[in-house]
Every structure is written in C-alpha cells, then in structure tokens.
C-alpha cells in the first residue's frame, strides 16, 4: 500500500472536520455576538418580559441605489434609529442626527467611510491591509458634509469651513489646482525689491519669516544661509531707493499714526489686527522713501493691497514715515550682524538665487519676479485628492503600520511637516498648529470631485457674491477698501457690520459726523474704524448711494405708518421707559448715559443715529438682517413697540447729580 492509500482515512477525517468547521464558522458569524447582546439590551429596555420583543437574527443590508452604496453597518449598529439607545454603548448608540440623515436615504459609508459590505469590525471599520477605505476619524468627519451641502457650511461644519478659509488665505490655491475655484495669488508682487527693503532684512526674512512677524502667512522654505543670500541677491537687482530724503516731525507723526487707528489692521509691539504686516520693526525693514509711497497710495504699488488710501497730506506722511523710521526699529538686531548679513547678500549668486526661486515655486504666491515666468499650479491637482488611492501616496522611508497608513493621516502629516517624507521636497512649511492642520486636512478630504444626485443636494450657507458697486460710490469703496472689513450684498469681510441696509438704518447727519470722526457705538469694542480724510463730495456720494441702493423695502414700507405715530408724546415715552427698565430690562445689555450693560450698542444718541422706521422694524424682528445677532427675541405687542421706539429715540440728557 502506498503512503497515500494508507493515509486516506486520516485525510478523509481532516476534510470532514474542516467541512464541519466551515459550516460552524459560517453559522456563528462574529456579528451574531453583537446581535445577541443587542437583543438582551432590547429586552431590558422594553421592560417586563410579558411579550417577547420581535428581533430577527441575521445580517442586514441596505442598497442605496442613487449613491451606488451597499451598506451592512446596521447588522451590528442596531440602535441607530431607536431613541432609547441614546446612551447605550457602541455599536448600539442612536445616531445623533438621524432625523436629518436617515440611513434609508444615505446609508452609512457615504459620509463615514469604511467598507460597507464587510461584516466584521476590522474589515468594516478598516483599514485592512489591502483595503484602504477606513472610517473617517471624528476629527476629519466634517469633510463629507460638502458632498450634499456645498462649500459654505460655516455654522454646521465649522472645521471644514475653517479648513477651506485657511486653504485660500494661505495661498494653497496658488500652487494646487482645485476644480471650480479660481486661482488667487496671495503674496505681494516682488518687483523693484532693491528700492523697497534693506538687504539684511530680506536675508533674515528668507531665513525665518516668523521671526520678524509671528503671524505672517509667508511659509518657511528652510533655506540654508547660503541659499537665502543667493535668493536675496537675485531679488535685489536693479536700482536702489530713489527720491528725496524724508524728513518730518516725528512727534506729530506719532500722533497721526496712533489717531488714525493703524493698529486696527497692523500689529505694533504684539498688539493689533492681523490684516496688515507687523509695524514695530518696519524701520529696520523698509526704506523711508518706500514707506512714503505705501502710505500715500498703496494701490499703485499693489492693486490687491488691503490698505486704504487715507488721504493724508504729504506733510503728514513725512511725519509718519519719520516717526516709523526712527522709532520702529528692530531692537534685537545688532549692527555687526546686520553688516555681516548685508555682505553675505552682496556676495550671493544671482543665478543660483534665480534657480532656487524657480525651484521653490515662489510664483505660487508672488507675481512680478524679474525674469521668472508666472506659471501657477506647480503642485499636484487637489480636485479629487480626497479620494486618492493610498498606493499613490509616498510615505518615503517612514515606516507606518498599515493601521495608520491612511489617506487622512498622510495628508495631515504632509501639511504639518511638508518635507517629512523625503528630503528636497518643494512644499514650504507653514507652521500650522494641530487645529489648523486638522481643518485643512478636512477640507482636502472634502475634495472628492464627485457629484451626488440632485435629490441629495441641499446647499447650506451663502458663498460670497460678486457685488462690485459702480460710479462714485464704487470709487469710494475701492479707495478706502471698505469691503476688507464690511460686507455689502454678500461680499466683503466679517470684521465690521454689514452695510447692505445702511440707508434704511441711519440718518444722513449721523453718517456725515461718523465718517469725519468715527467712534464706536459699542462700549465693548475698541475703536477700529480708521479716520479717513473723507472729502465732502465723497460724503454726499456715500449718502446718495445709501439712500438709493442700500435700502430695504421691509423698512421703507413702514415709513408711512411710523410717521403717524406720536413718538414725541411724553406719555408714550414714559410708557416706553417703564418697559425698557422694567418688564424687558433692556438695560441689562444696553447703556444709556454710561449706565447699563455693555453687550449691545449704546443707546444714548439713538435719536440722532437711527431712523424711526428702522427701530420699529428691528423690534418686530431683530433677526431679520443679522441672523446671528445676540439680541433676544421678545413677543412685543405693537403698542409696546411704539412705546419702546418713542423712548429709545427720545433725547436723553444726562441727569446731573
């Protein structure tokens, strides 16, 4: 008998046992363990065991045809739509927003990621070694929201929105293409650098931009000293500073600088706004002649500049520049260092500098670099990067166990330390912190280049419009760069109030007075509106535009009925006063003659500031224009509104004690 003949019974037995094993394995699927636990919980939650709770053992599958998804997640996640399981442990917890996101319609994996068909925890949640589709970690979860809800989910998906804002603010779009989003160049043009800045400053700036201005968006290219000197030498070609020497009265300059509220945008000694560059060391950076030009007409030098044209007289500018050049010096800088750096730059190689500028992709953010072709989008296309396959991502020599070898982890680390995976990579370091990195990662993950069926789209939030006023008002808005802080008709900044209905809101005399000497009506706010030298003709144009265009029918339609109200009636004013201080306690948040809360605007001068029909409308519906105003909404009666309006608009002489 041969070996195999002798062993036949043994093999037969092994085969039979294997067969039994397979049948058993198939019968006792891992998910049954969860289903048994869930059944026990369900019995417990249903209270007494009078009648058995209906429960079917076995896998559950949902086919979302429109999204071509097949999900079996509810095989274990059994309490998803049962509110009784709100506090139950996973996998049975109720889905927190199941009402809006019913899984009958959306399934699970469309938003959460993971492997819908799998029925074991490891395979479904991933990542498994050869299947990269893992569940999104909570930190990046919001990336999926944009699929149906569009790009402007500020309230509902703050992380995603922040990521998007950072992506464009920091000029990522300069190098990386994103389908459907216009390229923006965020840095200043680099022409005529020799006329602008001192060589030693440029060297230090290239070595570490954040040492000069801690909040700069300029990334760190990690140049070696030699490289920085080469780049500086290349950028500093051409004629030096020209024009007369600036001399003025530094004391007067200081006064003008401080009263013009430059710190609303610029940082001075660690305090101030984030919009403009650091000023407290600008005397060691820029030549006075250049500073003069910037203050006089920043738009002539950089059409995209956010700085307004203040309209200062040349003498005032001389004073300001003299003050800045004398006082705003880099005190940490020692002269021998500066001299050494200047020498280093002088010996730098322009050719090597040019090569480096091209290699580093400075044109991603900067325009007008001498002799360098302005081709943007040097980096990879991001349009569908959110669904990139892991095999296309190079982890370099870094060993990452497959459990962590995921697309989100790669993107996170690439943004956090751009040159981590390989030496010599181009992307510079933006020094993003963990929160910013998480936000940008979330945004990049949201770029899936995928469209959901129309029945799934539900855009939330409003994107910017292309509002651009024409004529005299348009010129004013452009000159003073109003839209850097204010918003009109959906376009502009979030720093100051929305001006879209300003014409229906305030009186002409008040606008005139405010533009000449802007002060804040909110006790808590620092005075931020810069004091421009507004011309009378401009004042008239502002009011004309306000009253014809920045109006709302909601308010204007009330003018007739409001004019019939006896708002000057002492009895009505008295009734209003009682409501103001008594029933509604408006003084908890508003001040009159320095008394009262400091949450809302000061109401002492309201009669001179606001139009009566606006006050009436506002009391009816405080959220009509500013949906997120902190004003509470009371159910005021018409009579109460009339009385409150009369009181609020009445003159309020401060009572002498």
């Amino acid at each position: 008998m041969s070996f195999f003949q002798r062993m036949f019974p043994v093999f037969a037995l092994i085969s039979f046992l294997l067969f039994i094993g397979l049948v058993w394995k198939d019968y006792d699927r891992p998910y049954l363990e969860y289903q048994r636990k869930f059944k026990a919980l369900l019995d417990q939650k249903s209270g007494g065991s009078s009648k058995p709770v209906a429960f079917r053992f076995g896998y559950r599958q949902r086919w979302i045809k429109e999204l071509s998804r097949v999900d079996r997640c509810e095989t274990c996640h059994l309490g998803l739509d049962d509110p009784r399981f709100k506090d139950a442990p996973q996998p049975f917890t109720t889905h927190p927003v199941i009402a809006e996101h019913a899984y009958e319609k959306f399934g699970c994996t469309e938003c959460h990621g993971g492997q819908g068909l799998a029925t074991t925890v490891e395979d479904a949640h991933g990542p498994t070694e050869n299947w990269n589709k893992a569940l999104y970690h909570d930190n990046f979860m919001e990336n999926s929201c944009s699929l149906c809800h569009g790009d402007y989910l500020q309230a509902q998906a703050p992380v995603l929105f922040r990521g998007q804002t950072l992506f464009f603010q920091y000029g990522c779009r300069g190098c990386h293409k994103v389908e459907g989003k216009a390229r923006s160049v965020t840095g200043p043009p680099l022409d005529g650098m020799r006329k602008r800045v001192q060589p030693d400053w440029l060297y230090r700036w290239l070595m570490g931009p954040r040492d000069y201005w801690s909040r700069t968006k300029m990334p760190d290219s990690k140049f070696s000293p030699r490289e920085a000197a080469d780049v500086a030498a290349f950028l500093l070609q051409g004629p030096g500073p020209e024009g007369r020497v600036i001399s003025g009265n530094a004391g007067a300059g200081k006064t003008t600088l401080l009263t013009s509220r430059c710190t609303s945008c610029h940082t001075i000694e660690g305090k101030g706004g984030k919009t403009g560059p650091e000023l407290s060391k600008v005397g060691s950076k820029a030549y006075p002649q250049r500073l003069f030009k910037v203050v006089k007409d920043p738009h002539a030098l950089w059409s995209e500049s956010k700085m307004p044209i203040f309209g200062f007289a040349d003498r005032d500018i001389n004073d300001i520049v003299t003050f800045m050049s004398q006082e705003y010096k880099d005190l940490d800088l020692n002269e021998s260092d500066a001299a050494r750096q200047t020498k280093l730059v002088a010996s730098g190689s322009k050719e090597r500098g040019k090569e480096l500028v091209i290699k580093q992709g400075c044109v991603g953010c900067h325009s007008k670099i001498r002799g360098v072709k302005e081709i943007g989008e040097l980096g990879p296309d991001m349009s569908t990067f959110g669904v990139v396959h892991i095999s296309l991502l190079d982890f370099g020599h870094i060993k990452v166990p497959f459990q962590e070898r995921t697309v989100p982890n790669w993107i996170y680390n690439k943004i956090k330390s751009p040159r981590l995976f390989k030496e010599g990579l181009k992307m510079p370091d933006y020094h993003f912190n963990a929160e910013e990195t998480t936000a940008i990662t979330t945004y990049v993950l949201s770029l899936k280049g995928k469209e959901v069926p129309a029945s799934y789209t539900l855009p939330l939030g409003k994107g910017p419009t292309d509002y651009a006023p024409q004529g005299a008002f348009g010129k004013i808005v452009d000159k003073y760069r109003c839209l850097v802080c204010h918003k009109i008709d959906g376009r502009g900044g979030e720093v100051a109030n929305d001006l879209s209905q300003e014409g229906s809101r305030v009186r002409q005399a008040w606008i005139k007075k405010f533009m000449k000497a802007p002060d804040t009506i909110r006790p808590m706010l620092e005075e931020r509106m810069p004091a421009f030298k507004i011309l009378d003709a401009e004042d008239d144009a502002i009011f004309a535009y306000c009253r014809t265009t920045l109006v709302t029918d909601k308010v204007e339609d009330l003018a007739g009925s409001v004019s019939k109200m006896a708002l000057g009636d002492p009895q009505l004013i008295h009734d209003g006063e009682k409501l103001y201080f008594g029933k509604y306690r408006c003084n908890a948040c508003h001040q009159i003659n320095q008394k009262g809360g400091i949450v809302g605007p000061d109401l002492t001068e309201t009669g001179k500031r606001l139009r009566p029909e606006w006050v009436v409308y506002y009391l009816h519906d405080p959220k009509a224009f500013v949906t997120r105003s902190v004003e509470p909404v009371y159910a005021l009666t018409d009579k109460e509104i009339e009385a409150l309006t009369a009181f609020v608009l009445s003159p309020k002489p401060s009572v002498p004690h």
Binding site: K399, E404, N413, L420, A588, G597, I598
Partner: protein, 148 residues
Amino acid sequence: MLLRLGPTLTLFAALSLFFLTATGSSVAVGASSKEGAQPPTFEIPHEPVSKLTASEQRGASLYAYYCAVCHGKNGEGDGFNSSELSTPPAKHDDAAFMSTLSDADIAKVIKGGGPALGRSADMPPWGRVLGDRDVASLVAFIRTLSKK
C-alpha cells in the same frame, strides 16, 4: 512527497512569522533632518480634539456666543457684562446650586427667561432664538460645567 516538502514548509512558515512580527512591531519613526534640533515625526492625529460629546460641543459654542457675556466662559458667573446687572448671573460651575435645578428647569429658564422660574428679567428669553435641540445641547453643556 509531502514529507520531503516538510523542512521547506517549516522554513517558510518560520520566515513569514519572523517578517510578520518584524513589520508588525515597527513603530512610526521620524525622518532625519539636517536642521537637527527637533526632527519632524509622523504624527497619528487620533486624539479627539474635544472631550465633549457632539451635543455638548454644540452647546459649548452656543454658550460662548449667547451666555458667556454674563455667565462667564466657564460658568463662573463672571462674564464681562455681569457687573452691570442688578441680579448677579447664575453660577453654572456651582455644583451645589446646579443640583437644585432639574434639566427641565434649566431649559425653561433658557427658553422663557428669568421670570419663567420667578427670577430676574435680566436673564432674557431665548425660546424664539434657539430651537429645542439647541436648548437641549445647551443644557447638556451647562451640566458639564459643574462636573469638574
């Protein structure tokens, strides 16, 4: 035949076991960097950003926006507007005080203002501003303030 293959199979199994453990146990290591000081490392961003639940987080952002001006950022009753009020705002970090209020009480005051519970009208009603879910998440967040 099978027996002759035995040693080969054993060797193969041993080798694969070795490689499996060798790769499995390797941890993420940092890239070397010429700057030296602190070489960047591969980070695993798995620490949750917030320890609060989703509902509590929602409540936290609403609280910061609507409530903190008087009740203070951490419910200490010391918001910047608190000194201007005739009745000092409730201290949400005071466990003894908070234990006297049921969730329903808190929700009632948020929706109807102080007078809803016979307290000062300095606390305005938010029932027409915030939805039921907002109020519920606010209550959930306010509860976390006294649990520290």
